[in-house]
Amino acid sequence: MKIEQYRILEKSLINEFIDKLTSISKVSAPVYKGFNNYAFHEIKSADEVSLKYIPTIIPPKKYFLPIKETLLDFKKGNEFKVEPTVEYDNIVLFGVHTCDISGIKCLNMVLSDKPKDTGYLVRKKHITIIGLECNDYCDEYASCAFVGAHIPTTGYDLMFTELTDCFIIHIHSSKGMDIIEKTGIFKPADSNNIEELKALRNNKLRIFNNEIPTERRYLPDLFDRSFNASVWKELEQKCLSCGNCTAVCPTCYCFDIKEDVDLSLQSGERYRLWFSCQLDPFAKVAGGIDFRRERSARQRHRFYRKFRYHIDRYGMVFCTGCGRCSRTCMAKINLKEVLTSLIRESEAKIWRKWL
C-alpha cells in the first residue's frame, strides 16, 4: 500500500464532494426507488444519492452494455448504405459496489475477446468508476465473499472506503487522480488511516463468511458431477421462465438483434437488446426445434454459465455474488440454496474426499 495513492475525505464533506462531481461531469449514482429497491440514475445533487443501498434492480452494466444499443444505421434500396455506430457518454458512476465492479470485469473479458466488440470498448473508455466498499453484507442474499468479490482489487478509478470518522480513497488511475484534483477537497492520508483500512479489511475476512459450504476452487469439480442433479428437476416446476434472474445479473450478456425502420420504410437501425436463455425463443430454430425446451435445462444452463463453462473459456467465475437473481425471483429460487443442494447431493461423491 503506497500511501501516496490514498486520500482522506471528512465524512461531513461527502455531499459536497458529490455536488462538486456533478458540476464537473455527468454523474450516475444509486437512488432509492421505494420498497427496498434502488437504481442507478443520473443525479443532479447529492440529496438524491443513497450511500447505503442493496444492489440496484439492474446493475451498472447498463452503462457499458446498454439495454438497447444501435449497431448500424442503414438505408435500403438503391442508395443502400450501412454505417456501424456507437453512442457513448462521458459519465462518472459513483458508489459502485465491488460485486458490480467484478461484473464489469466479466464483461470486459468477453467483449474484448476476439473479434473485439468495438462499440463496447469505445463506451468503456468514456466511463469513470468510483467504487464504494461494503463494510458488511448488504443482505442475506449476497455471496460475494464466496467468489472473492467483496474486497476491492482492480476495475475502478477511485475506491471509497468508510472508516470511523472519514472516507479513505484509493486512487487507482490517472482518471481518478483528475477527479481528486478537480474537486480539491481531499487531504493526504496518514499511516493511521492506512492501518485502520488494513484492520477493516482483516475484520471483513471475519464478517464475510463463506456463504456456501464449499470453496470456489472446487466449483469445476462440483459442476462436472451435477449435470443430472435432482435440483434441476425441482426447478422445472418452480421456475416461471420470466427471465428476471438473467435481466438483473451483472454478468449476463446474451442478446438479441433486431431492426427498426422509419415510416418511409427506407431507412432505419439495427440494434441489439438484452435477451435471456430462460425465454422460449432464445434457442429455437426453424421447425420449432428447441434444444433447451425444459425450464430445468434452462435453469441448469444459467448456473453452468455462471459457475462452469466460463471457467474453461475465460478462467473466471461468472457470478459476482450480488444476490440479485435470488432477490428478484418471485418463485423464490435462491442461488445460495441451489448451490448448497448441489453440494449436499454430491456429498456422497466428493465432499468426503475434501474432508
Binding site: 456501424p84 456507437v86 466488440d117 469505445v122 439495427r270 421447425g287
Partner: protein, 278 residues
C-alpha cells in the same frame, strides 16, 4: 450522448450484389453473389456467412460454392420465415449485406489423404456441396469419395443437374434416396440410413461428413459406428439459433461450446457425451 461511426465494428456489412437467382425447388433458391468492392470471400467448406436484408433481419447461411471459385460465391436458401421469404423475392442486381465467413468449417487438412463419405439430408447438401466441389477440384488429394444424398420426395431434390453429373463420374460413388417416391421416380426409396450399410469403405481411413435435419443425426451415427468408423472421424455440422456469429450473443451455445465459433462442424467425439447436442 455522442455518436460516432466505427468502421471496424464486427457488425459492419459488406455489400454483395446478386448476380443470379436460380429456383431449385418449390422452397429453395440458389443465389450467386459478388462483393461490390470486388474483394473475394475467403472461406473453408462448411463455414457460413451472416446475410442481411436491411429492416428485415440477419440470418446465418452456409456458403455452398467451392472456396476455389474466385468469381462469385453461392448460397442456397430455403424459404421458412421472415428473412428467407423476403430473400426469395429478390432479383438479379439487388444488393444484400454480408459479414463473415464464420465458424470453423470442415477440417480439410485432416481429411486430405483419406477417403471421404459424405452424407447429406435435404438442405444439408448446401454446406456439403462446398466440400464436394472442393474435393472434386482437388480430386487427387482425396482417396475414395462416396456421396449419399437423401430427401423426403423427388420434388425436393436439390442441385439436380449436378447430382446427375456426380452420378456419372467415375471417380465418385454416388447414391441417392427419397423417403416417399412419386410415379416417375426410378431410384432408391427409403431413409438415408438404409444406404449406409451398402457403402464399401475402409472405416479406419474414412472421414464421414454428415449434415441434415436434427432428427437424422442419431440414426446416421448409429450406422456409421456399426460400420466401424472411429468417433473422431465422424464430422457433424449443427444448426443452432445464431445472432452474432462470433461467440458473444450466447444463442447457439451447446453446453460450453459455441456452435458459431467452435463449430458448426464438430467431431462426434467432441459432443458424444454432451446433452443438448443431438
Amino acid at each position: 450522448m455522442a455518436k460516432v461511426v466505427i468502421k471496424d465494428s464486427p457488425y459492419n456489412l459488406k455489400k454483395a450484389k446478386i448476380l443470379d437467382v436460380k429456383t431449385l425447388t418449390e422452397k429453395e433458391k440458389l443465389f450467386k453473389l459478388v462483393f461490390e468492392d470486388k474483394t473475394w470471400l475467403d472461406f473453408e467448406p462448411g463455414q457460413f456467412i451472416m446475410v442481411s436484408l436491411m429492416g428485415i433481419g440477419e440470418i446465418p447461411v452456409s456458403i455452398c460454392s467451392s472456396p476455389l471459385n474466385r468469381h462469385y460465391f453461392e448460397i442456397c436458401v430455403r424459404a421458412v420465415g421472415k428473412v428467407t421469404n423476403s430473400l426469395h423475392k429478390l432479383k438479379t442486381g439487388d444488393i444484400i449485406g454480408v459479414r463473415g465467413p464464420y465458424g470453423n468449417g470442415f477440417p480439410i487438412k485432416m481429411i486430405e489423404g483419406h477417403d471421404l463419405l459424405i452424407i447429406a439430408g435435404g438442405l444439408g447438401i448446401a454446406p456439403l456441396r462446398s466440400l464436394i466441389l472442393y474435393s472434386i477440384d482437388n480430386r487427387r488429394d482425396f482417396g475414395e469419395i462416396h456421396i449419399l444424398f437423401g430427401c423426403k420426395t423427388p420434388g425436393e431434390l436439390l442441385f439436380e443437374d449436378e447430382i446427375e453429373e456426380w452420378g456419372k463420374r467415375l471417380d465418385i460413388h454416388f447414391a441417392c434416396t427419397v423417403d416417399r417416391a412419386d410415379p416417375d421416380w426410378k431410384g432408391n426409396v427409403g431413409l438415408i440410413t438404409s444406404l449406409i450399410p451398402g457403402v464399401d469403405i475402409d472405416p479406419l481411413r474414412t472421414y464421414a461428413a454428415v449434415v441434415g435435419p436434427p432428427v437424422m443425426y442419431k440414426f446416421v451415427i448409429k450406422e456409421l459406428l456399426a460400420k466401424g468408423l472411429p468417433v473422431d472421424q465422424i464430422l457433424l455440422s449443427f444448426e443452432r439459433h445464431m445472432k452474432c456469429g462470433m461467440g458473444k450473443c450466447g444463442r447457439c451455445q451447446i453446453q460450453n461450446l459455441y456452435c458459431c465459433k467452435d463449430g458448426p462442424v464438430f467431431t462426434f467425439k467432441e459432443i458424444m457425451d454432451m446433452a443438448e447436442a443431438l
